[in-house]
């Protein structure tokens, strides 16, 4: 197992579209192990995408099960060739990125999504998710399309669809 080097913007590789994974072999398995190791080494990272270590493959990991303030989640998700098939609602949230050190900003994402992706055995899984996990998945799929959260920043004045948790 190896912790891979995370590449940082302005590295061009972060702005490229990644290619579909076609070969579900041992090499892919080993890469996934290293990618997860790399995510765990990043401070508090809930996700990582292959392009962030300079590999232009449509593959990402999301795991929001370990947060201090727990959120609804599906545990560890390895998503190969992921596709979002449904979007619903919008929500503003704050994001940072392993590939953009020392900056966080507000981004609007779909509140609810339906996602389908392949596993290491090439089998497809599909489910709906929402909130923080849905946000993390959208952040990762953006990486596969050569997009960064910087491409979606909104002004701090944009106060959109905030969930009310307290009303005086």
């Amino acid at each position: 197992m190896t912790v891979l080097e995370i590449i940082h913007y302005p590295d061009d590789r972060l702005k490229q579209e990644s290619q579909e994974v076609e070969l579900f072999d041992q090499e892919l398995k080993d890469f996934v192990t290293d990618l997860e190791e790399t995510r765990m080494a990043g401070p508090g990272a809930v996700g990582i995408a292959a392009p962030q270590v300079g590999c232009a493959k449509r593959l990402a990991i999301v795991d929001v099960s370990g947060l201090k303030k727990p959120v609804d989640n599906h545990g560890y998700l390895l998503m190969i060739n992921p596709e979002i098939t449904k979007w619903e609602g919008m929500e503003k949230g704050r994001e940072g990125c392993l590939s953009v050190p020392d900056f966080t900003g507000n981004v609007i994402r779909a509140e609810k999504i339906k996602i389908r992706f392949q596993g290491l055995d090439a089998q497809w899984t599909e489910f709906e998710t929402h909130g923080y996990e849905a946000r993390a998945i959208q952040h990762e799929i953006d990486h596969l399309d050569g997009m960064l959260f910087l491409d979606r920043l909104v002004s701090r004045r944009t106060d959109l669809f905030q969930r009310k948790i307290y009303k005086k």
């Binding site: 704050r94 923080y132 905030q162 009303k167």
Partner: protein, 170 residues
């Protein structure tokens, strides 16, 4: 040796302020750090952290300031960038215009552990029934629950939403 200075510029709003000021700074090799620039009423206000090698900034900006009628104030920025500026709570407050809303809300929340990172207010509504809108991003040093409890003690008739910010890093 290079150092950071904090420039504050204020003047009547007019086209070209941002480009002229930043060009004047770039021309003498001042690099920009964080900046905040916005229209406020009919004025334009700018605060810029600039990195430079000990230049006489008031002298270098004399031309652009007199052309645009900007007031300039320079502070030496000894501490540099603040590392702990990650907000964990977002607060919006609005209500019928009333002097003292900001003071009451911020002092109550400060006592409950709120450290304000960013606060903006605006006047809206009609002239005869104005409303006041405030957005705050900050750090809840004693937790968000402490803020929601404290908010209940605020006497002003305001609507208030306190939402935790859970920053995603991925």
């Amino acid at each position: 040796m290079k150092k950071w200075s904090l420039l504050t510029l204020v003047g009547a709003d007019q086209p070209g302020i941002v480009s002229k000021v930043t060009q004047a700074l770039a021309a003498v090799d001042c690099e920009l750090g964080e900046t905040s620039m916005m229209r406020m009423g009919c004025n334009f206000s700018m605060m810029l952290r600039v990195h430079h090698d000990g230049k006489d900034l008031p002298d270098l900006l004399k031309g652009v300031c007199s052309e645009l009628k900007l007031h300039l104030h320079v502070d030496e920025d000894v501490d540099g960038a603040c590392v702990d500026n990650e907000p964990d709570v977002n607060i919006t407050v609005y209500g019928a215009d009333r002097s003292g809303i900001v003071a009451e809300v911020t002092s109550t929340l400060a006592d409950a552990g709120l450290n304000i990172i960013d606060l903006e207010t605006a006047l809206a509504g009609t002239t005869d029934k104005p409303i006041y809108i405030m957005t705050i991003e900050g750090q809840a040093k004693n937790g968000v629950d402490a803020l929601t409890d404290a908010a209940k003690t605020i006497s002003a008739a305001v609507e208030m939403n306190i939402v935790p910010i859970q920053t995603l890093r991925a």
